[in-house]
Symmetry: C2
């Protein structure tokens, strides 16, 4: 099978989005953009041994590759639309590809995004997706808009993916529900769009709350005070903390793909309403100040947030 056949067989599923003039199968994909909109583009790689284990299923790899990119689009308050897939495989394993492509197709249908281009290469397993979304001109939620006095919020519960990873690394079997938090993160697209126009800044928590909130602070030239006692915890995490008095997984654990965002206190009830509509827990965890520093009340550990190198 050559690359062309591989793409035809596994990745050339029909697309229904009328803005796409040309999908997979030419030198490049082509799509339209309505006037008054901007294109929002992000890229994320999943690499074996770093983002997933040798025994992670192709279904989970496909889903997560898409989800982590969707999460970036969610953090911009944009609507995800198109993506390209660059996949590097050690060998042509048709069974693996079959499962990978089925899962990718299912996830792309679920999140209403279209695969418009791709490349396949031989080498160590590596999946890079580039996701494109659209947003009304000048309406994207940047990291740089947080203001002194704004509340700081996070969606969902945090730290569970890190807890699951810790269990695996310590040869303890995680519960199924915990594995889902690691392998099947839910991109908060609906929430991202709902807080567009309300949130002053937003980031998705991929490398750990402490590191990702620091990006907001730096970009916005502000400081922040958060309180570990206010961080939203799952029951598993609450148990873990009660047993170990260790907040580092919640404060620094990566792979949550929840949104961390800021908004003025005057919009607090609006945000709680949105959370209800989106059926997502949204928790106020602290306040932006002008200190230029991130202070975490109740946590005196050094940064253990995920470092790529």
């Amino acid at each position: 099978m050559n690359e062309f056949e591989l793409i035809q067989n596994y990745f050339n599923w029909p697309l229904s989005d009328p803005t796409i003039e040309l999908g997979i199968g030419d030198d490049a994909g082509i799509f339209d953009l309505d006037s008054g909109y901007q294109l929002v583009t992000t890229t994320d790689t999943l690499s074996e041994g770093v983002h997933f284990f040798k025994d992670t299923t192709p279904e989970d790899i496909a889903y997560k590759s898409l989800a982590v990119n969707l999460s970036d689009i969610a953090a911009m308050g944009a609507t995800a639309k198109y993506f390209t897939l660059a996949i590097t495989l050690p060998k042509l394993d048709e069974n693996w590809l079959e499962h990978f492509s089925k899962s990718l197709k299912k996830a792309s249908k679920k999140y209403n995004v279209s695969l418009i281009g791709g490349d396949t290469t031989r080498g160590a397993l590596n999946i890079t997706i580039t996701m494109m979304g659209i947003v009304e001109k000048s309406k994207a939620i940047k990291r740089s808009g947080a203001m002194n006095g704004d509340n700081i919020y996070v969606s969902g519960d945090i730290g569970d993916a890190a807890l699951c990873l810790k269990k695996i690394n310590e040869a303890e079997k995680p519960h199924k529900a915990e594995m889902l938090r690691l392998n099947k993160p839910i991109p908060r697209l609906e929430l991202g769009i709902a807080i567009n126009g309300i949130a002053s800044s937003c980031v998705d928590i991929s490398d750990g709350l402490e590191q990702d909130l620091s990006h907001i602070i730096k970009a916005s030239r502000v400081g922040a005070m958060i309180d570990v006692q206010k961080l939203p915890l799952s029951q598993s995490m609450a148990n873990y903390i009660a047993d170990n008095d260790d907040w580092s997984l919640v404060v620094c654990g990566g792979d949550d793909y929840e949104l961390c965002f800021t908004a003025p206190e005057s919009l607090h009830s609006e945000i709680m309403k949105i959370a209800k509509i989106c059926k997502i827990r949204v928790t106020k965890i602290g306040v932006i100040n002008d200190s230029k520093k991130l202070k975490i009340k109740g946590y005196d550990g050094h940064s253990k947030s995920y470092q790529h190198f």
Copy 2:
């Protein structure tokens, strides 16, 4: 150094394109698209041991990663504009990164494209660039437009990258000029834009003329007859063929990144004029017919075009 610092240090150079609202440093890049235009998107990966050798310099890897993507945009007759970079590195080698980023910056300046997003990951060396270009609505040159009777053209000389690779694999030292053909392919952006509105179909030769022309034939539901005696050869290649009576490198050799395109005979003189203006050799190598097959006069070898697996 964390990922954020790595990107700040090596990839966050100033951008001058006024259509970019947000470059590297947020969850995603943002840009505008003028109305009446479409976005053209392609992605290509370079992987160590497949697309380059262990001793290939970071400068050459950076240049080629960009060039192969630009070549796809050229083949669509589009104008290259924005790109994202996903780079997977075995370790944090600041010297390597310094050279890689300098070369990428230089090449992106040369071809007038802007880096608007990126991701860095640890793992086997792997570089994926996603390139976005713009084209007037419905004006992109697709693979599917070739018509019975159209002439077939290629730009430049072909087969030289394959000849260079063959020498390296046989432990023969290639000339500097030959190494350039392998490591520094020139994306035919100017030519691609110039033949937009004239060419009926176009593809870039990345996997070998025989395979890439076959894509045009298949997409256009036509056939083709080309003649090896008409293929444009460098002096090195002419010598090699005279000595070895082996046309396979020219017919099937990959990595040329020249354009192969079709156009009606009535536009032949127009095309020769364009070639002169672009200062690129453009050669008529055959004619499209309705046979649904590719016949290569003077070449009876089986396909040896590059197979990704």
